[in-house]
Point group: C2
Chain length 237, copies 2
C-alpha cells in the first residue's frame, strides 16, 4: 500500500488526535517523506537542527556518546512518535535508523510557526515531549538500579507494548506473541548499560526458564508475559 503524503500525518497518532481538518491539511502540505535504511543517520548535519519528523514505520534510536566512544542509546522511536525539538537548543543528539525506517518530516521553522498558530497542535506536542521525558525517567530507574535480567525483561516488554497493534484496544491477548527486536545485540547493550555478552547471557537465561523463546537472531517469542513482567521489576522469581 502506497502512503500518500496526506496519509503521513493521518497515520500519526501523535499528530492527528483532536486536530481540526483544516490544521491537518496545513500540516500535510509541509510534510515530506523519506526512507532510511537500517544503520543510517536519519538526517544529515545541515538538517539535524532544522527538521522535525514523525516515524511512520520501523524504529529509530537516539543516542549520546562520550569522547572515548562509550555510547548510550537514550530513546527509541516507534511508529507515531515525534523526533526533533521545536524551539530547542541547537545541539541535536544523533538519531539513526535501528531498522529500516519510513518517516515524514517537516521544516523546523515552519513547524514552529504551525505550533504557535494552532493551539491543539501545541498541546499534542507538549504531551509528546512529556511522554518522552517520562520514558527517559523510567529508563533512568532501570539504568541506576535494575539488574541485568530485569533490564532485559523490561526492554522486551517495551518492544512488545510498542510493536503490538494499538488500534484494537481490547484485542484478545495471544498466549504467545512473536516479535522482532528492533535492535542488534550491540545496540541493546548500549540501551541497557550492559555488554553484549551479558545481553546474550540474559536472553539465554530468559529462554531457559521459559518466558521467551529465541528464534533467529532478533526474532523472539514471548511465551509468558506475566513472568516477563515479574522479572522486569523484582529480580527474585
Amino acid at each position: 500500500m502506497r502512503l500518500t503524503c496526506r496519509s503521513c500525518s493521518i497515520r500519526s497518532r501523535a499528530l492527528c488526535r483532536a486536530l481540526p481538518e483544516a490544521t491537518l491539511d496545513q500540516i500535510n502540505r509541509l510534510a515530506r517523506r523519506r526512507r532510511v535504511p537500517a544503520g543510517r543517520a536519519l538526517f544529515n548535519e545541515d538538517e539535524a537542527n532544522n527538521v522535525v519528523a514523525t516515524v511512520l514505520a520501523g524504529v529509530a534510536k537516539v543516542s549520546v556518546s562520550l569522547a572515548d566512544g562509550r555510547t548510550q542509546v537514550v530513546g527509541l522511536h516507534f511508529p507515531s512518535d515525534f523526533i526533533g525539538r521545536p524551539f530547542a537548543a541547537p545541539v541535536a543528539p544523533l538519531a539513526e535508523a535501528a531498522t529500516d525506517v519510513e518517516l515524514c518530516f517537516f521544516d523546523r521553522p515552519r513547524f514552529e510557526a504551525l505550533l504557535v498558530e494552532h493551539k491543539g497542535l501545541e498541546e499534542v506536542f507538549v504531551r509528546q515531549v512529556t511522554a518522552e521525558l517520562d520514558a527517559a525517567r523510567e529508563w533512568m530507574l532501570l539504568l541506576g538500579h535494575k539488574t541485568a535480567e530485569e533490564r532485559m525483561a523490561s526492554l522486551i516488554l517495551q518492544c512488545l507494548t510498542r510493536l503490538e497493534p494499538s488500534d484494537c484496544v481490547a484485542h484478545v491477548p495471544a498466549t504467545e506473541v512473536r516479535i522482532e527486536l528492533p535492535l542488534s545485540r550491540t545496540e541493546i547493550a548500549q540501551f541497557l548499560g550492559l555488554t553484549i555478552e551479558t545481553v546474550s547471557r540474559m536472553l539465554k537465561r530468559l529462554s531457559t526458564v521459559g518466558v521467551i523463546a529465541i528464534e533467529s537472531g532478533r526474532g523472539i517469542r514471548v511465551r509468558d508475559r506475566a513472568g516477563l513482567e515479574r522479572r522486569a521489576e523484582a529480580g527474585k522469581v
Copy 2:
C-alpha cells in the same frame, strides 16, 4: 528581603525572558507562594496533578521508585526551574524538597489556559521541558556507562554550574569555589545509581587527589575544576 508575589516570576529566568509586561502581570496574578522544609513533599496528593511551579530558592528533587523500595532520583530543580507538566498524563512523579525550598506555584488549568493564550510563554515552556529531557539523557549516559568516580565528579560539576550566580555571565572564575551539596549521601546515591558507601569513598578519593576538599557533611570546596571536569568524563587521570 521579602519577595512579593510579583517578583516571584520576575526572578524566574524560565518565565521572564522575552515576555511582554502584560503577560507577566497576568501570570503574577495567578501565582501563590510556599516554603517547603527539606525532606517534605512539595505538593500533597490532591495538588500533585493540578499545579505547576517554579523554584525560587533551594533545590527540589524528583524521584521514581520500584515496588521493593529501590529509588532513583531523576531530576534536580534549581532556582528558576519549572516543576510540573501542563497537559500531561495524570501520573506525577514524587517531587520533594532536597533543601529548604521556596516556590511559586500556579493552578494547573489556569496555567494551561495562559500557555495556550500567550505564544511566548508556550515557547518558554517547551524550551524548559526540552532542557529537562536533555538533562535526563545526559544522566542516562552517566547511569549506563560512567564509573563511580566519573559519576561523583559529574554531580559536583552540575551543582557547581547551577548554584553559581548565573547573572554575571563573564565573572572571573574563583580559584576555589565553596558549595553546599543540596543532597544527603543517601540522595546522592539514589541519583548516581550507587550505594552511600561508594559515594562516601568517591568523595574521599576526590579529596585525597586534591580536586575537592570536604568541609562539613555537605559543604565542599572545589579546588581544581579542570581536574574535576577531566574526571567527569574519562576515568583515566
